[in-house]
Each structure stands twice: as structure tokens, then as C-alpha cells.
């Protein structure tokens, strides 16, 4: 019991320090997950088995994973700048927190000296055995004494879901064309009926940023992804095309005559 406490306590505090002082946000998330798992072990060691499992499943498993997902969206490489924007802010913060910590620890220490705090805990064997187990005991309170708060918590969850949708779900202004519509559009024009050219069809490249060539040797602009064209990061193949064309004409005089006429 004591060994469990010390191991988990040291690891949790290490996780806490790691979280606060990591440069990269993803590392912070992982340190926090370490802390949470250690806390779960501490819960189980304190006769809160249900809570320990829920901590792993809900907190570490759902909440921390959500953090990691959002970090992936925002940018895995995001790291804080270390430049202080308000001078002395860092020092003042650390001083304030140390003061708070000293205060709380003193109070806890004082409390253990006085008779008001049970140094020997009552323990939960009685409470757990009362209803036939930890889960049953919590169930009795959840659906008995605290049933109103339990029902109102649903309002919280609805708000969260609604809010996430409102802020993050992009509504479409125009209707999405259906498959039949898209098919008809494609077949109506002989240029697209056989399907659009895939990018990079030129014999020397198969990259997405290299345009395809049409049968007459010209470059097919619509074979490139729109985003790359907008950014201007596509591969410019005109020079290559010109060189190869010139070589072709040089090696085949009949074609060159056609070209000239």
C-alpha cells in the first residue's frame, strides 16, 4: 500500500512537471496521460475501484485522446515561444504558486496535528459492504440522493454536443450534387467522358504535383489538384516537354515536315 502510494505519487508528480514544462504540446499531453493513469491506481488503492476504472476509460481514454486529436488538427509541431510578453510574469507566477503550495501544505500538516482530522481514516469497507460493493454503493447515491444533479448533467452533455457542432460543423451553402448528376455532367462532354487525366502520367514522373500530357503533347491543367495550383507548388514541365519534343522532331524528319506545314 505504501509502496504503491510512493511509486504512483512520484510518477504523477513527474508527469505533472513533464506536462507543465514540455516544449511540445504533444509531449505535455502524454505526460498528463501518465499522471492520470497513476491517479487511477491511487483511486483503486483507496477503495474507489469504480472510479479508478472510469478514470482510465473516460478521462485517459476519451478526454486525453480528444486532446491528442485536437493537437493533430492544430499542428503536432506546435511549441510555445519562450519569450515573455509581460516582464516578470514568469517569476511572479512561480512565486505565487509556491506561496499557494506552501500554504496548503501547512494547512494539511496543521490539520493532521489537530484532533479535528481523522488520522486513522474510517475506511470504506463499511460503506462498500453496505450495499454489496463499491458500484452498488455509488449507484444508490447516484440514483437516490443525487438523482437531480444526475439528470441535470444531461443538460451539460447536450450543451457540449450542440456547442461543438455549432462551432465546428461547416454548413454547405450549395446542395451537394448527387452521383447521377455528376455522372450526367461527365458524360455530356466528350473531353471528360473517358475520365479526367490522372496527374504525373508523363513517363518520367508519377508525382501528384506533375501535370499529365494530352495526346497532342500539351499540358492538361485539370489533372492537377486545385489546392496545389492555387499555392503555386506544381512542377513546371514546359521546358522538359519542349526538349523532348525537339528531340522527337530531330529523330523523326517526317514529323518535322508535318509540323512545318
Amino acid at each position: 500500500m505504501i509502496a504503491v502510494f510512493w511509486v504512483c505519487a512520484v510518477l504523477s508528480v513527474a508527469g505533472g512537471f513533464g506536462m507543465v514544462f514540455s516544449r511540445k504540446a504533444v509531449h505535455s499531453a502524454l505526460w498528463l496521460a501518465l499522471t492520470m493513469i497513476n491517479l487511477a491506481v491511487l483511486y483503486v488503492s483507496q477503495q474507489a475501484e469504480f472510479l479508478g476504472i472510469v478514470q482510465v476509460v473516460v478521462y485517459t481514454g476519451a478526454v486525453m485522446m480528444l486532446f491528442l486529436f485536437v493537437l493533430m488538427i492544430v499542428g503536432v509541431d506546435s511549441s510555445d515561444s519562450l519569450v515573455e510578453t509581460i516582464r516578470g510574469h514568469r517569476l511572479a507566477s512561480v512565486a505565487a504558486v509556491l506561496a499557494l503550495l506552501v500554504l496548503v501544505l501547512t494547512m494539511i500538516n496543521q490539520a493532521t496535528q489537530s484532533l479535528a482530522l481523522n488520522i486513522v481514516p474510517t475506511g470504506l469497507e463499511g460503506a462498500n459492504a453496505d450495499e454489496g460493493g463499491n458500484v452498488q454503493g455509488i449507484a444508490k447515491l447516484l440514483f437516490g440522493r443525487y438523482v437531480f444533479a444526475f439528470e441535470v448533467t444531461s443538460a451539460l452533455l447536450i450543451t457540449a454536443a450542440l456547442g461543438a457542432m455549432v462551432l465546428a460543423h461547416r454548413d454547405r451553402l450549395t446542395r451537394v450534387p448527387g452521383q447521377e448528376e455528376l455522372s450526367r455532367e461527365r458524360l455530356a462532354d466528350p473531353a471528360t467522358a473517358a475520365g479526367l487525366p490522372a496527374p504525373g502520367v508523363y513517363a518520367r514522373h508519377n508525382a501528384v504535383d506533375t501535370p499529365a500530357l494530352l495526346p497532342d503533347g500539351s499540358i492538361a491543367e485539370n489533372s492537377l489538384p486545385g489546392a496545389l495550383v492555387l499555392r503555386g507548388t506544381t512542377h513546371d514541365v514546359r521546358e522538359e516537354v519542349a526538349v523532348t519534343r525537339a528531340a522527337e522532331l530531330a529523330s523523326d524528319p517526317k514529323q518535322a515536315q508535318e509540323e512545318q506545314s
Binding site: M107, A116, G132, F143, V147, I158, V166, L167, R170
Partner: protein, 511 residues
């Protein structure tokens, strides 16, 4: 093995819980309407549902006038102060909803963004144009539901849940302004981070109080405190942290840092509702916790509250002088008002309770009307909130200028206005004994505040104005809100007994 069957059915007194249940039920129906109805139908149906449910809840609340009972298995209390606070909150909610519906002052539409998920300045955003984000209505109703529960909560768990239920929708709504969206989103982030921080502090304080007393409900805590007055530093630490968490919500210094930014960035209709209703709900809960649960340990928290009250009053008044944005001026003055209300809390007596309640009611209507009036003064870019843009307003619209002057003077505490009644009630409770010092600080702060209010009033009436700033003609909703504010300022000032008698008659907290 297993729970003893038959499991006793928990007893819920539905008639006594009518206001809360109606609002939360309407919020859920509102979400269903969002899912099912077409946008054109939602535009009219959602506000209708909101107003209907608020009316029914208000009727239910008035019906609870004489009830004194602990309900819902000890989670909530229905007593005099609960009825007053819930009634005030419901009326403020109706006024806030009227402001949220206003679509005449802004040619672009209502105060909320057409689609909060679009990127500000994008073609997408322009494409949605004047459409409405009707999800604000269920969020609004959830916020009101949480606010109704918070002052009625009888244990720390229910109080924490209620706190979160009303805070989360407000964080979301703050980021959904139609104009100046980047500012609005930033305000939402700030509000959220600091709000989450204060909730965590509240929770840790509750945990320490539970560790010291062994009980989560207020009666149990009060018993433990009175049984062992030397319960010592663990209880004090818990009380300090709990107090810090709650003072954040009411916006008292030094926990007020969020309020100017959030009030400035949020859509003004929401700021109006937030500034009034959040204070009423949070102070109601603060009063209940301090008086019922921790009344026996009053000497523990009174000095701290005295310092915070004094600090709020001074910081609010002094910082407001240098602000250049009218919304921030009003935000800092509401910090000062929080300090005045805390003076009533300080008294830790029934007189203090009624003084604080009187102040909350009087202040709520006036501040909601003041923020509501801000929406009508506009420039081509949107609302004209710079103080200099308000100069010379009297020439453009004498009505607006005189109403705003009256509201400012009420907030300063001019005699024959509700502001004076409120200050008198709060201060007389604290007069006598060592708390008198705080009252003196309050008087000083009032004087400073009056000075800069007068500066604004003088600039409105006697300075040259900017031609680009016009006063838009608001719809019936905004006019009603401002009218109610002015009426309350005048009526409760000229006939203070109406308000004082009402509050005195409800008595004290039920244990």
C-alpha cells in the same frame, strides 16, 4: 448481493421545481426543433418557445411565493430568497431574449453570427448573409436553467453542476458575435480558460471542505462547523478556494480580469444578459453558501471579503476612468457594483441578505438596459463603442442621451433613483462595527465613479459629435428593455418601499 430491493423511488417535488424543469425541458425541445424543423420555421418557433417557457416558469415561480422546503432529495431549496432570485432571473432572461431577437438596428441581421463555424472574412461567411444561427436559443435556455438552479442549490455537488450548466453555454455564445468576430472568438477563449480555472479552484475548495467536515450539503457543513469551531486550517483553505472560485463568477477584484475583455468581445445583447443575470445567480449562490453553510465560521471569511469588497470598489472606479471603450467602462463599473453587493454579504446578517438582494434586483435591470442601449449607437462598421464616438449624442437623439444619462446617474447612486435605494440598503446593513470602513471606501468609489459618469454625460450633451455615428431606431424589443430599465430606476427610487418591502417579506435562507 446488490442493492436492497425495492429501491426506494427518489422523491421529486415537481410542482416546486417547476421553473427549473420547464426551462430545461423547453431547452431539450428546442434542440429537437433544431434537428427537425426547417430554418424559416425555426426562426419564429425558437423565440416563441423560449418566451413561452420563460412565461410559464415565471408564473410557476410566483406561485412558489410561500413555499419553504428542501426539495429533490436535498439537492435544492425553495425558500424566500430563492423565489426572489429566480423571479428576477426569469424577468432578466425575458429582457435578454428580447435583445437577442433585435434585428432592426443592424442591417446585417441579429447580434449573432449567421454561421459560427465559418471563417471570419471568408466568402463562405458572406454567402450565409443575414441568416440566423437559431442554436443560440437552446443554449440560452440551458444557461437560464443553470442560473435558476445555482442560487437554489443546497449542496456543493449540485452547486458545482449548476455552475457548469450555466457557464458552458455562455462560453459558447460569447464567441458567436456577428460583428468583429475575431474579437468575439478571443473573448470566448479568455472566458473559457479563466472560467475553467475558477471551476477547478471551486472544486478543490469543495474537496477540502468535504475533507474537513465530512459532508457535502450545507446543513451538514454548518453542523460540522458549529460542532467544532476550531476545525482549523483545512476548512479555512477550502473556504478560501471556494470563495475564490465564486468571486470569479461575480467578477470581483482581483478576480475580475476577464470581465472587461469578455464584456467587450461578446455580442452586446449577450453582455447585457450576462452582466445582469450571472451576477444575480452567482451572488445568490455565494450568499447561500456563506450564510447557511459557513455562517458559523463568519470570522474566517469576513476579513477576506472586506478586503475584496474594498478592492473591487476602488479598482472598478479607478480603472474605469481611463477606459476609452464604453463597454469596458460599464464592465469596470460592474466590478465596482460587485464590491457594493459584497458589502451586504459582509454583514453576515438578515439585513445584509436583504440589502444584497435589493442591490441585485435594482442593479440587474439598470445594467441590462444600459448595455441594451449601446446597440442603437452605430457607425458604418457596426456598434460605435468608443467613448469619443458618443460625444454630441444629444443632438442626434435627445431621447437616447437622456435615457443613458439617467441610467448612468442611477448607477452612480443619485437620490430618487433605484441606485440610491440599493446603495442605502447594502450600506446600512454594513454600517456599525468594523465594516464601516468598507462603507467609507464605497462612498469614495461612488464619488470617483460619479465623476467619470458625469464626464460622459457632459460630453454627450455639450460636445461636438462625429457625423459618421448615427442612432438607429430599435425594434419594440430593445425599446421594452430600455423602458423597463428606466421604469425600475425611477419607480424603485421614488417609491423604495416597493422593493424593500418585497425583499424584507421573504425572510431568510432555509437550512
Amino acid at each position: 448481493m446488490g442493492v436492497q430491493l425495492p429501491f426506494p423511488t427518489p422523491q421529486i417535488e415537481y410542482s416546486l421545481l417547476l421553473p427549473v424543469l420547464v426551462i430545461l425541458g423547453a431547452a431539450v425541445v428546442s434542440v429537437l426543433i433544431e434537428a427537425v424543423a426547417a430554418e424559416s420555421l425555426r426562426r419564429t418557433l425558437q423565440p416563441l418557445l423560449a418566451f413561452g417557457s420563460l412565461a410559464i416558469a415565471l408564473a410557476g415561480c410566483v406561485g412558489l411565493w410561500d413555499q419553504r422546503q428542501v426539495v429533490a432529495q436535498g439537492a435544492l431549496v425553495v425558500d424566500g430568497p430563492t423565489v426572489i432570485l429566480q423571479g428576477t432571473l426569469l424577468i432578466l432572461a425575458v429582457l435578454g431574449a428580447l435583445l437577442m431577437m433585435e434585428s432592426r438596428v443592424d442591417p446585417a441581421g441579429d447580434p449573432f453570427a449567421a454561421r459560427a463555424s465559418t471563417i471570419p472574412g471568408s466568402a463562405d461567411e458572406r454567402g450565409f448573409g443575414a441568416r440566423r444561427q437559431t442554436e443560440v436559443w437552446p443554449l440560452f435556455l440551458f444557461a437560464v436553467g443553470g442560473m435558476l438552479m445555482f442560487p437554489a442549490a443546497n449542496d456543493l455537488l449540485t452547486a458545482f453542476i449548476a455552475l457548469e450548466v450555466f457557464s458552458l453555454p455562455l462560453y459558447l455564445l460569447t464567441g458567436m458575435a456577428r460583428r468583429r468576430r475575431l474579437l468575439s472568438q478571443e473573448a470566448a477563449l479568455k472566458y473559457f480558460v479563466l472560467g475553467a480555472f475558477s471551476s477547478a479552484v471551486f472544486l478543490f475548495g469543495s474537496a477540502l471542505i468535504y475533507a474537513a467536515t465530512g459532508s457535502l450539503d450545507f446543513a451538514g457543513i454548518a453542523d460540522a462547523v458549529s460542532a467544532d469551531p476550531t476545525s482549523g486550517l483545512l476548512l479555512s483553505a477550502g473556504v478560501a478556494l471556494l470563495l475564490a472560485g465564486m468571486l470569479f463568477k461575480v467578477g470581483a477584484a482581483p478576480f475580475h480580469q476577464w470581465s472587461p475583455d469578455v464584456y467587450q468581445g461578446a455580442p452586446t445583447a449577450l453582455t447585457a444578459f450576462m452582466s445582469a443575470a450571472t451576477k444575480v445567480a452567482a451572488f445568490g449562490a455565494l450568499l447561500r453558501v456563506m450564510f447557511v453553510a459557513l455562517g458559523g465560521a463568519a470570522w474566517d471569511w469576513q476579513p477576506a471579503v472586506a478586503v475584496i469588497a474594498g478592492l473591487s470598489m476602488l479598482v472598478g472606479a479607478i480603472t474605469a476612468v481611463v477606459q476609452s471603450d464604453i463597454k469596458r467602462v460599464l464592465a469596470y463599473s460592474s466590478v465596482a457594483h460587485a464590491g457594493f453587493i459584497l458589502t451586504g454579504v459582509l454583514a453576515a446578517s438578515p439585513k445584509g441578505l436583504s440589502g444584497s438582494l435589493v442591490y441585485l434586483v435594482a442593479y440587474g435591470f439598470v445594467t441590462l438596459a444600459a448595455f441594451g442601449l449601446l446597440t442603437v449607437v452605430r457607425s458604418p462598421a457596426g456598434e460605435a463603442t468608443d467613448v469619443q464616438q458618443w460625444a454630441g449624442l444629444a443632438k442626434k437623439s435627445p431621447v437616447t442621451a437622456s435615457v443613458f444619462s439617467l441610467l448612468l446617474l442611477t448607477m452612480a447612486g443619485l437620490p430618487l433613483t433605484s441606485g440610491f435605494t440599493a446603495k442605502f440598503a447594502a450600506w446600512s446593513a454594513a454600517w456599525g462595527g468594523w465594516q464601516t470602513g468598507v462603507v467609507v471606501i464605497g462612498a469614495v468609489s461612488s464619488t470617483i465613479a460619479a465623476a467619470f459618469y458625469l464626464r460622459i454625460i457632459v460630453s454627450m450633451w455639450f460636445s461636438e459629435g462625429d457625423d459618421a455615428v448615427v442612432v438607429a431606431l430599435p425594434g419594440l424589443g430593445t425599446r421594452t428593455v430600455v423602458g423597463v430599465g428606466v421604469a425600475s430606476a425611477v419607480v424603485f427610487g421614488v417609491a423604495p418601499q416597493l422593493l424593500l418591502g418585497l425583499v424584507d417579506g421573504v425572510g431568510v435562507f432555509l437550512r
